[in-house]
């Protein structure tokens, strides 16, 4: 009995063929490459992490300074800069952008997926082509448009302009993504609902919306993250530090000589990156599915 057990342990149970020596070396090399890349990724991020907590770092991050744990860069960030205002601004801008995009896109995605109306293909093609032009192209016009509108409606701030620009830029591609997703939902559901007396709007509200919720979540998420990532438009359009978004604000910490403080930038970058990274890791699967279904647009 005991022998039998011993045999069983030695028995090769995997359904894969046993590795040859050559294969073993291959696996080993693979691990070497993979860990090398892990190192390549983690090392710069780790440097950022260390610099943010290194009390010895002065205005510029230097290689040869020693390490001394301190949170003074964070303190600097919260007391000397407008970091919290920037966070608030970014949250407001991102939230409004996500909401607007969601409302507008959920309608267009549904319309383009389910209806064959006049001008549909032409407009699809037009949007497709227009979105290749970088948003930045219109920057000269944005300034002037803002000054025209704000002379009529004084409440119209540059942040609102920014929200509209972000939304405008998000409509085209997200319409494609959502359209692709709704296309994959069988129209039999719609037909059944219509036979039961649902109006078009109710089909959208009661049938399509709940089914498309995963994709809508992704779209909302992407448009929410967008303003965190973009610094170009924010930097160009927003003029006073009080109205900056995070990206534009942090940017001043490394470029403007008056406010230059690289370790504080590292600290701020860290604080900004961590929630986003957690979000990405948690929603990895959904984000990827959003990507690939976006590819269906062709």
């Amino acid at each position: 009995m005991a022998r039998k057990k011993e045999n069983k342990e030695k028995l090769y149970l995997s359904d894969k063929p046993p590795l040859t020596l050559f294969g073993k070396i291959g696996i080993f090399l693979t691990y070497v490459v993979l860990f090398a890349w892990v190192y390549a990724i983690v090392w710069p991020l780790f440097q950022m992490f260390v610099s943010a907590f290194n009390g010895k770092q002065q205005q510029y991050i230097m290689a040869n300074s020693n390490f001394e744990f301190s949170i003074r860069h964070f303190q600097y960030l919260f007391t000397e800069t407008l970091y919290l205002t920037w966070v608030k601004n970014t949250l407001i801008i991102a939230g409004t952008t996500a909401l607007l995009t969601l409302i507008v896109v959920s309608f267009t995605g549904y319309a383009y997926s389910r209806y064959r109306f006049k001008g549909r293909n032409a407009s699809l093609m037009a949007i497709m082509l227009i979105q290749t032009i970088p948003t930045f192209a219109g920057i000269t016009a944005y300034f002037t448009m803002h000054s025209i509108v704000s002379s009529i409606i004084p409440q119209f701030s540059r942040q609102m302009m920014l929200i509209l620009i972000y939304t405008g830029g998000a409509i085209a591609s997200n319409t494609f993504i959502l359209k692709g997703y709704i296309d994959s939902v069988s129209t039999e559901l719609d037909d059944a609902a219509k036979i039961d007396g649902c109006s078009n709007f109710n089909v959208y509200r009661l049938i399509i919306m709940p089914i498309a919720r995963p994709m809508l979540t992704i779209i909302a998420l992407w448009s929410f993250i967008g303003p965190f990532m973009d610094y170009l438009l924010a930097k160009v359009l927003l003029t006073s530090p009080k109205s900056y978004t995070l990206a534009a604000g942090l940017y001043t910490l490394v470029t403007d000589f008056r406010t230059m403080n690289q370790p504080a930038f590292a600290a701020g970058g860290l604080l900004t990156a961590i929630p986003i990274v957690i979000l990405f890791i948690a929603l990895q699967k959904q984000l990827v599915s959003g990507l690939t279904s976006g590819s269906v647009k062709g």
């Binding site: 710069p44 507008v104 930045f136 025209i148 970058g269 890791i281």
Partner: protein
């Protein structure tokens, strides 16, 4: 003069005899004239036709029609009086408003039924009125009965509620509490049982979850049912349902009636004397008027709003009234030339463009209105009855739905995307530069000419920068794709352990906002930065990456490889996991080596699925402003080769940024923007054309 058809048509092509004998006579003559070849007889027939038209008043049919119209008028006037009387009487009886309305309608219909029955054969209008009244008299009594009964029941329930107000259901509450507790006990036991099953490994986790939710639902349901044993609660619930029923069901019933009437609208033709749809031409300039003449009043109101927009907003604005500074469309030509000092050409241009878009919208409204009136009129001549609001509403909510819901998107796209792009496009034909900030003029194609010929400020460095841009795009993107793809393949190897770990780590460069990592890289390679020191210690050389064009470029490409590979890795992993394993098994059976499998199965499949996204990666890097600008500001600068504006690692987009934002050469920047946008558009268009969906017409 137009001709009459012998028969009338409805919109599905059914034919009907004319009831108007006078028009029938004319129509028959028209047909004869058409078929007659002999000119003499033809002119004779024409004369005869004119005769008939002249003697229209004495035509027997017209006489009887006039008589009918007179009587109808009297009848309607009389009915109006009676109706008001009846209505007021009901009001005195304190009937509810809904019921009052329905009863009055029934009363009217009964009277109408009486009156019109005599004239059914005389005209289609009378027939329609008759049939409508008939339908009303059939359906309305049921609806009224439903309403009365419902209201009675509701009143009883409400009275009961009043009675029960002071009733204290102590016993029931006690009983309910006891019941709830016992149920809770059962729920707990059941939960325990299922958890035990799970512990013993008899059911899966998913099954456990499902069983638990089902239990909870059951528990809630039982409680809800028990609650209804309370008299008070069930009475309240009854009131709620009844109220809902009275509101919704009544609406549905009326809708059904309306739909039945609409059916008659479609089946009973109209007969009119008009042969040319002249309303549409006459009212062309006032959208809404024509709809009014067609007796579609709500539609008229909607179009009148459009008219207001046209005459109060679009046209004045296009003419220059109500502008902020500009002169409407005219401002596009003048560009504030000779204007006041504070007048700015750019404002004139943008207002001109906005005026242009407003005009396009106005023309759209004119066109839609004209087409609508024209169609309705033409149909009426053929015999099709103009649809009423009930039908129009249905059509709008059916066919107009996609337009209505896309409207916000359209507005945003027009004003936030199209107007700026249009501005940039027009700017590229002007001379807006540091000397001409406030006032600039049209200079035609010379900006483009300079770029193409490689002359002047823009042209000299353009081709050099374009060259580096292309190298950068190809090298950085390809590197990222290769790294990402290779890593995905390696991690996906079934013998590799710790897949989750690798995937999480490899996600990081994508997840951390790019501007943060790029700036940090920039800090690290600065003189005295961490990377610089490491290189110095390792090789003994003092390298200053940021001051050496070649090194900067290499560093940029490597950095973008680092940044971009993450996205490709995630993408490829997703596709790899979806490849069915039996493909590889089949390959194994046929004796394929690992390399064969990658080459013949993996690569083609992954490429096929991700190709469009890879293409967007190239366009993304072509315009990857952040990487270039944040890393080294486009530098190092090399004035001999690149002039004073651009640095040696600048790509076109960052060059445009420097031209427009830093140095105010907006016109040249715009020209370059248009240049590359055109290139990208063609690139995308070709990709789009070749995509599977486009070819299959499935868009």
């Amino acid at each position: 003069m137009g001709k009459y058809n012998v028969l009338l048509y409805d919109n599905i092509g059914n034919t009907y005899e004319r009831k108007n004998k006078y028009l029938l006579e004319l129509a028959l003559l028209d047909e004869k004239i058409k078929n007659e070849k002999d000119n003499n007889i033809k002119s004779m027939l024409k004369k005869q036709r004119r005769e008939i038209k002249k003697n229209k008043r004495n035509h027997p049919y017209i006489i009887s029609l006039k008589d009918y119209e007179k009587k109808e008028n009297e009848f309607l006037n009389d009915l109006k009086k009676k109706r008001t009387e009846y209505y007021n009487k009901l009001k005195a009886d304190k009937t509810s408003r809904k019921l009052r309305k329905l009863k009055t309608r029934l009363f009217e219909s009964e009277k109408k039924l009486d009156f019109y029955s005599e004239y059914v054969d005389l005209s289609y209008e009378a027939e329609f009125e008759y049939k409508k009244a008939n339908l009303d008299t059939i359906h309305l009594p049921n609806i009224i009965e439903f309403l009365v009964e419902g209201q009675n029941e509701l009143n009883i329930a409400l009275a009961k509620k009043e009675e029960l107000k002071n009733l204290d259901e102590k016993d029931f509450r006690k009983e309910f509490k006891k019941f709830k507790e016992s149920r809770k006990e059962i729920l707990k036991e059941e939960k325990l049982r299922i958890k035990n099953l799970r512990k013993q490994g008899l059911i899966s986790r998913k099954a456990e979850e499902n069983a638990l939710t089902e239990l909870k639902r059951k528990y809630k349901n039982v409680l809800e049912i028990k609650k209804r044993e309370s008299i008070k609660f069930s009475n309240n619930e009854f009131i709620k349902t009844k109220k809902y029923e009275l509101k919704k069901d009544l609406k549905t019933m009326l809708k059904v009636l309306e739909a039945d009437i609409s059916d008659f609208r479609r089946k009973i033709p109209v007969e009119i004397e008009k042969t040319i749809p002249y309303y549409s031409y006459l009212t062309l300039l006032v959208p809404g008027l024509g709809q009014g003449l067609n007796k579609q009043y709500i539609k008229m109101l909607l179009f009148l709003i459009g008219t207001l927009f046209i005459y109060l907003i679009a046209i004045p604005y296009a003419l220059g009234y109500g502008n902020y500074q500009g002169q409407g469309i005219a401002g596009l030509i003048s560009l504030a030339e000779g204007g006041l000092r504070i007048h700015k050409s750019i404002i004139f241009m943008i207002e001109g463009i906005v005026a242009l878009f407003l005009s396009i919208i106005a023309i759209g409204i004119y066109a839609i209105s004209f087409i609508d009136v024209h169609k309705v009129e033409k149909n009426a001549i053929k015999g099709i009855r103009p649809s009423n609001w009930f039908e129009t509403k249905t059509t709008i909510s059916e066919e107009g739905f996609p337009y209505i819901v896309s409207l916000p998107a359209l507005l945003i796209i027009v004003f936030i995307v199209l107007v700026p792009i249009m501005t940039t496009f027009l700017l590229s034909f002007t001379n807006m530069d540091p000397q001409h900030q406030s006032k600039f003029t049209w200079i035609g194609l010379s900006n483009y000419k300079m770029i193409i010929m490689g002359q002047g400020l823009a042209g000299k460095v353009f081709w050099q920068i374009l060259g580096w841009t292309v190298i950068w795009t190809l090298a950085a993107t390809t590197l990222a794709i290769l790294i990402g793809f290779a890593l995905a393949l390696l991690v996906n190897n079934e013998r590799i352990k710790g897949k989750r770990f690798f995937r999480t780590i490899y996600l990081l460069p994508w997840a951390v906002p790019a501007f943060i990592t790029i700036m940090f890289f920039s800090i690290m390679v600065a003189p005295g930065g961490v990377l610089t020191e490491i290189i110095k210690n390792a090789t003994g050389l003092r390298v200053e990456i940021k001051n050496d064009p070649t090194l900067t470029r290499i560093a940029l490409i490597l950095m973008q490889g680092w940044l971009g590979s993450s996205y490709i890795f995630i993408l490829t992993t997703g596709v790899l996991q979806a490849i069915p394993g039996d493909l590889y098994e089949a390959a194994d059976m046929d004796g394929a080596t690992a390399w064969d499998k990658i080459r013949r199965i993996t690569v083609p499949l992954v490429l096929f699925q991700t190709a469009p996204l890879l293409v967007t990666q190239y366009t993304f890097n072509f315009n990857n402003f952040s990487a270039i600008f944040l890393f080294n500001g486009g530098g190092p600068f090399n004035p001999i080769k690149y002039g004073n504006l651009a640095g040696s690692s600048d790509i076109l987009i960052s060059y445009i940024y420097k031209l427009t934002m830093d140095n105010q050469y907006q016109a040249i920047g715009a020209a370059i923007t248009m240049f590359i946008s055109l290139g990208l558009m063609i690139f995308t268009f070709i990709g789009f054309r070749n995509s599977k969906q486009f070819k299959e017409g499935r868009l």
